[in-house]
Amino acid sequence: MAVRQALRRAGGRLLATQGAMAPAALGVAGRGLSTSAEPITLEIPVPFKGHNVEPPSRTVETSAQELTEFFRTMFVMRRMEIAADSLYKSKFIRGFCHLYDGQEAVCVGMEAALNDKDCIITAYRDHCTHLGRGGTVLEVFAELMGRKDGCSLGKGGSMHMYNKKGGFYGGNGIVGAQTPLGAGLAFAQKYLKVEGVTLAMYGDGAANQGQLFEAMNISALWDLPVLYVCENNHYGMGTAEWRSAKSPEYYKRGDYVPGLKVDGMDCLAVKQAVKFAKEYALKNGPMVLEMDTYRYHGHSMSDPGSTYRTRDEISGVRQERDPIERIRKLLLSHEIATVAELKTIEKEAKKEVEDALAKAKESPSPDSEELFSHIYRKSYGAQAYGADRKEVVVTLP
């Protein structure tokens, strides 16, 4: 009680709308940015909701180091997406560009519960997910601008970022297709006896896709270690969930597949849920995790995002539930960092993003020969033709 009052006096606005974080034990308090790994125990404010499964405890263990890392990583992701917005408007990025700002807690919280044996596959809102799996800001920017230092050599674009070594399988442009693909990754993990799970991510728009239910059926039949992670940002492009789903309780839609509903704006809740679900999946098979999250931008850069929702709604979420602000408040309230230290982290993150952007802008376009590379791994001397079949004929490498 006293802690809460003290923080209010300090002017920090707690997440009072969701209840106060009650620290059961403090980490190393005092001056200086604490990067201690000493455990800090916290209570997740928004309760989990379970479908055919007992939800995990709301008590989560973290540390100063982890919270600082959450803050830094999410801040880099936020800056990266905002920079992408400007790049798109100045026509450095063409075609489609789907931004993730607002949803950072989902991929960051997930990574805290996963390791390199696990796999992630997602849809086209993949820039930050790619980063979470070990990608760099440089290769994201370069790919967005179609340059040769892009993670897909400039040949994929915004929707097609991959990192096989890091267990990231994209980056998929067809809504819902990634869900059976994710079940397939889990199938392979089980086949090869890798102690890992696959997180097949999809949105509230994709949640009605038939192939998702086909994948759920087979993965439940075969006990595949797959987690179906629904990033419910409440709008499938311009269509609100209540207009597209008879039942927008996506965590229940698996029917015989158990589900959890999670506050997707809370890194720690996401981490707890994924940790719990991973343990479950390795023993029993699939689970659905519905992450209640929000995107600040429209569906893509060609959507202002305000014709189907009010600006008040957007700014309201930003004020009440922003994932970065939540961690900031935790860091301050637990005296892990001071305001000045956080500003330093922010400055460093901004610089990291700006440097990457500058370097990406210098990266050249791919060579013309790349038009015909990577058609096949093994071409048997097959030929491919350009628009002018007499001028441009290539024996595939």
């Binding site: 991959y162 693909l181 889990a186 192939q211 791994r377 048997y380 491919a384």
Partner: protein, 385 residues
């Protein structure tokens, strides 16, 4: 392990822990361990095919799957009825008993779902062989074949390859109607990143399937239901467990000098018979069996037409934008001035496949059509030198 059965009707894993009396009444056997009870359909047939001097296409495919499953533990088979039922067309007979349920997977009737799962597992590094009970059903999964599999290596800048084989019976059969008779060679053949193979006889079925399974790229393997039961001689070389045929190479089935007939799959047989009859009329036809729709063996086709100066393409699929169009186009690109007559296309009729037997016969090229059209081609244009 002793199998104690009084009635052969159990189709699932069973733990039996009570005494079962044998018919003789001499006491029972007491067993408590998991079984796979073979289905009555498979009793006596639950053996994989053995490579022999003569094999039918079905057994040739079966032997190829068997050898590749043995050779590479990353290979597995998936599809409807491939396991316990022994395969809708018995292509996979005996494989479940030999390799177990981890590697021979029966799926529900959800093509999009299980094809996606197959492709996803190939991303990770497994080598699935996905059976479509009919390639017509693959249309439900075509997004995964093209968008998830064929394009992935390119979109990922070379990071993720997809060593998957999709296979199944394609094209016209007998009396199966419009939705089960479409030929997909042309549609799949137009996609960069995909390999499209169409075997004719048993040796080709075996060699090309083994090559496809070993290939690191997505292959779609289009079989022909009417050929499954047909026997062909097998060469000594084809019996080797490492026998493969090259992808992207056509085969000249019969050499000739007056006209080149380019075809594939079942029509190869009909073309060969037609060539015998044409020979009696003094027309020497060269028959090219494509084997590989993509990559297409353009040098083989062009060299042949440069020799014969006349081209007839032959396929069962629909004419507009068909395989024949690409063959003619490639001749026009590279060998136009060698032609003595305009090329002719022989294709299936521009109709959904009808059911009535007389109409069905009108919808697919016959030997008479081939003979008439080849003669027409040879009697037009400039006289042969």
């Amino acid at each position: 392990m002793r199998v104690c059965l009084q009635r052969p009707t159990i189709l699932f894993y069973t733990f039996i822990d009570k005494k079962i009396h044998l018919g003789q009444g001499k006491g029972g056997c007491s067993v408590r361990r998991p079984f796979v009870h073979a289905s009555p359909l498979s009793r006596g047939m639950a053996d994989v095919a053995v490579v022999a001097d003569k094999m039918n296409v079905r057994d040739a495919l079966n032997s190829a799957l068997d050898e590749e499953l043995t050779r590479d533990p990353l290979v597995y088979v998936m599809g409807e009825e491939v396991g316990q039922y022994q395969g809708a067309y018995k292509i996979t007979k005996g494989l479940l008993e030999k390799y177990g349920i981890e590697r021979v997977r029966d799926t529900p009737i959800t093509e999009m779902g299980f094809t996606g799962i197959g492709v996803g597992s190939a991303f990770y590094g497994l080598k699935p062989v996905v059976e479509f009970m009919s390639i017509n059903f693959a249309m439900q999964a075509i997004d995964h074949v093209i968008n998830s599999a064929a394009k992935m290596l390119y979109m990922s800048g070379g990071k993720i390859s997809v060593p998957i084989v999709f296979r199944g019976p394609n094209g016209a059969a007998a009396g199966v109607g419009a939705q089960h008779s479409q030929c997909f060679a042309a549609w799949y053949g137009s996609c960069p990143g995909l390999k499209v193979l169409m075997p004719y006889d048993a040796e080709e079925a075996r060699g090309l399937l083994k090559a496809a399974i070993r290939d690191p790229d997505p292959c779609i393997f289009l079989e022909n239901e009417l050929l499954y039961g047909v026997e062909y001689p097998m060469s000594a070389a084809s019996k080797d467990k490492d026998f493969t045929l090259p992808i992207g190479q056509a085969k000249i089935m019969r050499e000739g000098k007056d006209v080149t007939i380019v075809t594939f799959s079942r029509q190869v047989e009909i073309a060969l018979k037609a060539a015998d009859i044409l020979a009696k009329d003094g027309i020497s036809a060269e028959i090219i069996n494509l084997r590989s729709i993509r990559p297409l063996d353009r040098p083989c086709i062009n060299n042949s037409v440069r020799k014969t100066s006349r081209l007839v393409t032959l396929e069962e699929g629909w004419p507009q934008h068909g395989v024949g169009c690409e063959i003619i186009a490639t001749i026009c690109d590279e060998s136009f001035f060698y032609l003595d007559a305009p090329p002719e296309r022989i294709c299936g009729a521009d109709v959904p496949m009808p059911y009535a037997v007389n109409l069905e016969a009108l919808a697919v090229p016959t030997m008479d059509d081939i003979i008439r059209i080849v003669k027409r081609c040879c009697h037009r244009g400039r006289a042969a030198a």
